[in-house]
Amino acid sequence: MEKKIDFDLIERRAAARKRAFRAVDYFFLTLWALIVLFPFYWMLLSSVKTYSAYNSEYIPRFITLAPTLENYREAFTAVSLGRYFLNTIIFTVITTALMMVVIIPAAFAFARLEFAGRQIAFTLFLSLMMIPSELVVITNFVTITNLHLRNTFTGLILPSVTSVFYIYLLKENFEQIPDELYRAAKVDGTGDFKYLTRVMIPISKPTLVTIVILKVIECWNSYVWPRLITDDARYFLVSNGIQEIRENGFGRENIPAMMAAVVVVSAPLIALFLIFRNKVMAGVSRGGTKG
């Protein structure tokens, strides 16, 4: 007698296995999400606990029933958090703007203009991408010191202005704009510069926005160069400010105020990310380096 195959049972088993797999999958994904989110939750939570409540909790509590904004006031008054903030904004805006002024013409020249030595120049530019910043920081530090530009915005900004990688990224984008447009503009008597500003820049806006966002993230989080080049707290950026707060500010134990400062420093970039989520993620997957 032939053994009967219970297709129904096999199918039910397969479905159950699939459901079990799903559950395990979601469990681990949620676990990692919690690990990622927890520090953010903890900084928010600690920043609204009162100083005395925080220090009296030998066993930290996961919620607080008496939230306060006092720590935020403290963060802005006891240390110059407002100034660090302003410095970082000035630094970020000027660096990013200058960088665009430098890289757009360079990318345009590589993508569109024909001139002797273009290929060689481009190859040399590409080879510069391999130079790690740790190697050049030493001389730059000495140069800026000798020019008496320590503790100035000029000294902070100058070495961060160019990026070969962004020139490359933009050049690739410019090259996708059809040649016909360029020739048509030439026939109409449009100059190269006008063509760049009136046609190429508007068409490449998405890439330009991506580059701006990546540069803003980089500027906002930069720590090493500002630390080397500033020791006067009036020129600190937020990263240095945080480090300063950690080592000297608030008296060492006022952790709620520290956490308030951390929240204030973290919030702008998180907001930027949530607004431009797709742009940021697409940009990082094309040109991200942190990792």
Binding site: W32, V36, M43, V224, Q243
Partner: protein
């Protein structure tokens, strides 16, 4: 003829700002750092040196602080690169298998990328630190499992290394998950359809289809991961403060900066030698990685 010449001039004119900046802050420093590294007894106040030679290298290679930094950096690299790549692969596979909530998870996983390393490092420090007032949250959790309190910030070496690795992985994960999820999403679905036809077991599908298809991206992540981890610095500062030598948790990059600046600074020659040693290590590892990937990666 003049038109052509004009064009040449114009092209270089458009490049001029970039060339000026790169020349001053990238090319010149690169040459200069090589010169610094062989100038013996360099005095940064008078800008004089006593001779040319390899003394700076031999000094750095014998400096216990440098050797400690090398040990820390290598441990960090060996632990975090495979772990973070592996976990990122698992997470990406998990993400790829679900539909609802996928976007939400992706957004959450990406958050560490846009946070200030120093700022969030402070939160990690507080979570792991023991003070007079509290054992800290992590120790509270350890107690649930009956494990004794450990000071992860000022305590034993393994505990400090654990926190550093944990934080590093937390920081580098977004980039890896992002790259791997997009790699997984771009695998041609026809391959999976064919495998279903043949009712291939799912592990075999993974091993024979998914892994080869995304192997270029995995190797890309391994290579960038090695390079990134060898340059670790800010994460350590965020957790242990600026005096990393005292904490015994310095990294090679940290050693370079300490030689340059701060209470232990003023020695650009030693800093240059250390930076060039680091560069040589990174270059060697990258070349080895590329050679291995040539043999194993399917393009």
């Amino acid at each position: 003829m003049t038109g052509k010449k004009n064009n040449n001039l114009k092209g270089w004119l458009y490049l001029l700002p970039a060339i000026l900046f790169l020349g001053c802050f990238l090319v010149y420093p690169l040459i200069d750092v090589l010169i610094y590294s062989v100038e013996e007894g360099y005095n940064s106040a008078s800008q004089t040196y006593t001779g040319i030679g390899l003394y700076n290298y031999s000094y750095v290679l014998r400096d216990p602080y440098f050797l400690q930094a090398v040990k820390n950096t290598f441990l960090l690299v060996i632990i975090t690169v495979p772990l973070s790549t592996g976990i990122a692969l698992l997470i990406s596979l998990g993400l790829n298998a679900i539909k609802p909530l996928r976007k939400l998870y992706q957004t959450i996983y990406f958050l560490p990328y846009v946070t200030n390393t120093l700022a969030v490092g402070l939160v990690f420090m507080i979570l792991f630190k023991r003070t007079a007032y509290t054992d800290g949250l992590v120790n509270l959790m350890l107690r649930w499992f009956g494990a004794g309190p450990v000071d992860f910030i000022d305590g034993p070496y393994w505990a400090k290394m654990f926190v550093l690795c944990f934080y590093t992985i937390w920081v580098v994960m977004p980039f890896k998950v992002l790259i791997l999820t997009s790699a997984l999403a771009s695998v041609n679905p026809e391959y999976y359809a064919a495998a279903r036809m043949d009712s291939t077991r799912s592990f075999r599908v993974f091993y024979k289809i998914t892994l080869p298809m995304i192997s270029p991206m995995i190797f890309y992540l391994v290579i960038t991961g090695f390079i990134g981890a060898f340059k670790a610095y800010s994460d350590a500062v965020a957790l242990f403060g600026t005096d990393l030598n005292a904490a015994g948790m310095n990294t090679i990059v940290g050693y370079v900066y300490d030689m340059l600046y701060g209470s232990s600074g003023g020695y650009p020659s030693f800093a240059s030698a250390a930076a060039l040693i680091l560069f040589a290590i990174v270059l060697t590892i990258t070349v080895i990685n590329l050679m291995i990937s040539k043999r194993h990666v399917h393009y």
